[in-house]
Amino acid sequence: MIEKDTLLEEQEYVINMGPQHPSTHGVLRLVLSLQGEIVKNIQPHCGYIHRGIEKMSEKLTYPQIIHLTDRLDYLSAHINNGAVCLLVENALEAEVPERVKYIRTIIDELTRIASHQLWWCSFGMDLGGLTCFFYGLRDREDILDIFEETTGGRLIQSYYTPGGLMNDIHPNFQKRVKQFITKFRKILPEYDQLLTGNVIMQQRTKGVGKLSLEEAVSYGVTGPSGRGSGFSCDVRKHAPYHLYDKVEFKEALATEGDTFARYKVRIDEMWESMKIIEQLIDNIPEGNYSTKMKPIIKLPEGEYYQRVEASRGEFGIYVVSDGNKNPYRIKLRSPNFSNLSALNTMAKGQKIADLVAIGGSLDYVIPDIDR
């Protein structure tokens, strides 16, 4: 009888990627089943920073909940704040001044650009291009400075309140935003020169981590990741809020569904965001920056849902109200949670190094997954 040479036989083995791994961008643990370098199966383990925000919110008032939504996807802090404010305003049928809508739309889009800049940094770095990291962070600084001047905060600002804004924009706001747009219009093509055209980058992303349209819809993969697969899921188009039904912009779409498509959608989105800001920045009407709301906000009994387009996809808030000042039940539908569920489908059969590229293109923010 010939004994089998077990050393050379193919074997599956299991390793942990994370919870402390630079490419998971936070405390996410992926348990990988490997055959050599090929990933056979991925089991994400979430919950390392589960803070129970939904449970906490059941004891908080609506203006207080705004401050917790910052801490979900901290890179779309303003957009998440906006979701709570819109939900309360729509439930109470409160009309906010035009000025507020203009400012909110501009700030939301600035947030989106800042978020995509940071994504571009870290995506470049995930693929080994450290230079990107410095370029991206350098340009993001300009937006953070604008935010700091107006809102007082750089990362988590809680600038929106039900009915309006915390305070009016800084007198320099319009000037600085315009300066930034002029500057960034020249800088963004540099991003293309530096990374998009790079042969190594293209080889590592084209055809890697494919997700078909049907899979994207079924897994609820939204935002740039879903649009990279051709899933037209932009809430700004399909359920407009703020001023998105008044401004002109294209929904960035790609059909390839691979890592490079998701990359291209995000770059296109930065151009579109700049277009939106340019249409609004000179026309901010005079008026109040806030309407007077009751000191204690109570939502009428019923169920409410608010969808907004955060930088990583569709963010939703579902509130069941029993008529009290705090919600009976609140559910935060975070885009990253659904996007993560498709990771196994995307990365099965690919190499570990490709998994890093795919993870980078999904751009997950872990506090948003764990909540």
Binding site: E54, S212, G220, F231, T255, E303, V320, A342
Partner: protein
């Protein structure tokens, strides 16, 4: 490479009445209300899977995108699941609601094979609200530790150490 053709000439989205008629023809016991925001349908737990499949596969409804799935501990002491649906083709909405038979062993059929996103969302609902989803491929806790006692989002959950009442 597979090319995706986008069909722009799709029929107009169904209005609430047509939707109501269709659902009632399929599940006569269903309760359909217009709702403030989205039309809402409450179905018996036994009929959920059949209706969900029909709503997704039928060309008229084509609810292929489950944008939210959550569990609620309703004020009348019952545990339920709420499904928020929309269509990538028609862009109309529907909210599906089911209630579990009891609090002790709440069991509801899984829809994770109809909408894959439900796989994670159902695990979350199990973890935080304790609803078991029948035939789910991987019914484990998703956020909390395996040996955690209880399901925190239930209204009767008690944790003397970590929850401080003011």
């Amino acid at each position: 490479m597979q090319k995706i053709k986008r069909n722009h000439k799709h029929p107009l989205p169904m209005n609430v009445d047509a939707l109501k008629e269709k659902i009632l023809a399929f599940v006569p016991q269903a309760e359909v209300i217009e709702g403030k925001q989205y039309p809402e349908v409450t179905v018996p737990a036994g009929k959920l899977r059949a209706l969900a499949k029909e709503l997704k596969e039928s060309d008229e409804t084509y609810f292929d995108y489950l944008f939210n799935l959550t569990a609620v501990d309703w004020p009348d002491q019952s545990l339920g699941v709420v499904y928020h649906l929309t269509s990538s083709k028609h862009h109309h909405y529907l909210v599906l609601k089911v209630k579990a038979a009891n609090r002790e062993t709440p069991v509801i059929d899984t829809v994770s094979d109809i909408w894959r996103t439900a796989e994670f969302h159902e695990r979350e609902a199990y973890d935080l609200m304790g609803i078991q989803f029948k035939n789910h491929p991987d019914m484990r806790r998703i956020f909390l530790e395996e040996n955690w006692v209880g399901h925190p989002l239930r209204k009767d959950y008690n944790d003397e150490i970590n929850i401080v009442e003011r």
